[in-house]
Symmetry: C2
Subunit: 234 residues, 2 copies
């Protein structure tokens, strides 16, 4: 199983996927049937608008990508893909669309067979056990929150540290994740922007200039430096 | 129908409910069977811990409040309440608990009969049409997102303006609400911290030092000053 799971598609001041270029080329090297999952629809744009954007960018990287909405039989498209990229946006919209199209199971199977998978933001969230640690608004209501479960934990993308100067009284991200653990057992990895994971079967490596923050139920959160991640069984 | 719907229970640097004291006293004046709905469980605390906190504060305001978890028959407690306060926390946990206990309909009926209702944060979110504009994490999965529908719009509590100095690439609150409107027709009222609504049947008044931000599908958002709110039919 080969995964690339990024906290964000775009760094502040950067361009779409630019900082991930070499990792993307490495992950998808030699792939000719690359499929894009556009269903998170950031900003509410249509699936085809979103696919156009991702396809154009991948073309600049020398990779041919095709949006899933262009296939008459999306399940077959997934089953015969040799690479899949799920873009960011709204995790609820993404999951609900995949559920209704019956695509979750085929996608999970295909990736477990070795088809390289890349996700950014909501697409990374989808690779965890559930989307229960998304930052998104529940603008639609999926049947359940179970995700692909490609890694044995939940991901919180765009992880944000508390701002000591803030006067805002809404919950911090850390408080939200602690509340998650009152009701859910699995570890949660807070992936800060500019961080990404590279997964090669059981081997999970953190990349980028920042630590990730790991939340294990009943324990104090810990900072994980770049490199191999040591994850607890739960 | 008499409602007090606050964006937040506590102002930065303030104490619990302090800034709402005179509005609370006015709303619940003469009420002797005041019930607290503790199910949003902020910070994951137990219902009884949360009720103790709210009861103690109300006592200081000269009001006797009793947590719903203390009643053998919570439905009857709601049906005979002469005032209800739902505290903030996690909107998903709040709604799911109310759904499972069969409390949504009795609560809605009782408030429509004229029983004064106060909500803060998640408790205000609950007064809208759905909880689809909550900022909370989906740490549990309710059956549906339909809320009490006491006002003809959705509420976004703790509304936050975009920070021009932020380098964070996660969606702004405004972007999230615009995405909500791709999938949902109802107006959304962004209630900034320190703002609250006082509702007297059809009459909806904004209170506090700040404007609220009103999002109507297909239109540019508008700033609403304190005073009577003019809301579009949708």
């Amino acid at each position: 199983m080969k995964l690339l799971l990024a906290s964000t598609s775009t760094l502040h001041g950067g361009t779409y996927l630019d900082y991930l270029k070499s990792s993307i080329r490495k992950l998808f090297s030699g792939c000719s049937r690359l499929v894009f999952v556009p269903y998170a629809r950031p900003g509410g744009r249509s699936a085809s608008e979103y696919s156009e954007m991702a396809e154009a960018r991948f073309k600049e990287f020398g990779l041919e990508l095709r949006g899933l909405e262009q296939f008459e039989d999306p399940i077959r498209a997934i089953e015969s893909a040799d690479g899949v990229f799920t873009g960011g946006g709204n995790s609820f919209v993404l999951l609900k669309t995949l559920q209704e199209a019956g695509l979750l199971e085929p996608l999970r199977n295909r990736i477990r067979q070795g088809c390289p998978y890349m996700g950014s933001s909501a697409g990374s969230n989808l690779a965890g056990l559930t989307i229960g640690t998304t930052n998104d608004m529940p603008i639609v209501h999926p049947k359940h929150l179970d995700a692909l479960g490609l890694v044995p934990f939940n991901i919180n993308p765009h992880y944000l540290d508390p701002d000591p100067n803030s006067h805002h009284m809404g919950e911090t991200r850390e408080t939200r994740i602690r509340e998650f653990h009152v009701f859910n057992p699995q570890p949660v990895l807070g992936l800060r922007e500019s961080s990404w994971l590279e997964v090669d079967d059981e081997r999970i490596e953190l990349h980028g200039p920042l630590n990730a923050r790991l939340f294990v139920r009943g324990q104090e959160p810990v900072e994980c430096p770049a490199g191999l991640l040591a994850l607890p069984r739960f």
